[in-house]
Amino acid sequence: MKRIISAGILALLGVVAAANVASASVVFWYQPKAPKALLNRK
């Protein structure tokens, strides 16, 4: 059960993070540093 919840939360957060990396910017005038792990996935 814990593994399913963990995977679900990570998938949701991953979608938000991936959407930001796929765009030029989605948070108006602020862009936190994108993690290398995400940039290297492309």
């Binding site: 919840i5 963990s6 990396v21 108006f28 540093k33």
Partner: protein, 222 residues
Amino acid sequence: MERAGKAMGEWLGSHLEWSHDDREIATFSLTLILSTLFFVATLLLMAALAGVLREAIIMACASGVLKAFAGGAHFSTGWRCGIISATAATLAAWLAHTFGATVGAGLGPGVIGLTLITASGVSWIMHRRAPVDVPEKPITSHEQRLRLRKIATTIPLLWCAATTLLVATTQLGWLAIDTNALYAFWMASTIGLLWETFSVLPSGTRFVHWLDSRIEQLVRGT
């Protein structure tokens, strides 16, 4: 905000036994969510207090949609960005709310001409400059760069087509819309597009960095 995102990411990661990479991604995502929520809440509160909620939402949407594909200058912290962006958006919304109807009525059919000029100018600048990436998130693929540029160039043209259609049908009396509200929305979305266009220009980037450093000095009391 960055610290809160990191703390939440680490807490989740330790409880759910995530790897280092997964924790980094979760922290990044949580920081994005927190900073967006903070910006939206600040904007809604300020705009509601100023009585310009609808104009502020339209302005933020016009600017935000274009920024998603065009990128541009950034502030260095989420707090700073949220407060300054919300304040500027509320001020711009107030301008549109107060002067939009007068300007629109004064221009008459000229509203459509001004819309065409604005859209052409913004689209041309997007074609030349967008997407503007930042060191925090470099655009590494050529295909992604081309795709973002294409979308950023198209958005002002779509805005122009929709606005022209709406204004023309209203002015011809084919559509029964409150013209005062329509002109206020027109002005709000125009300011939103121009604001974002400014942030992709070198002068806009320099201005934002200058403002960012001034606020940093103010906060640190130096």
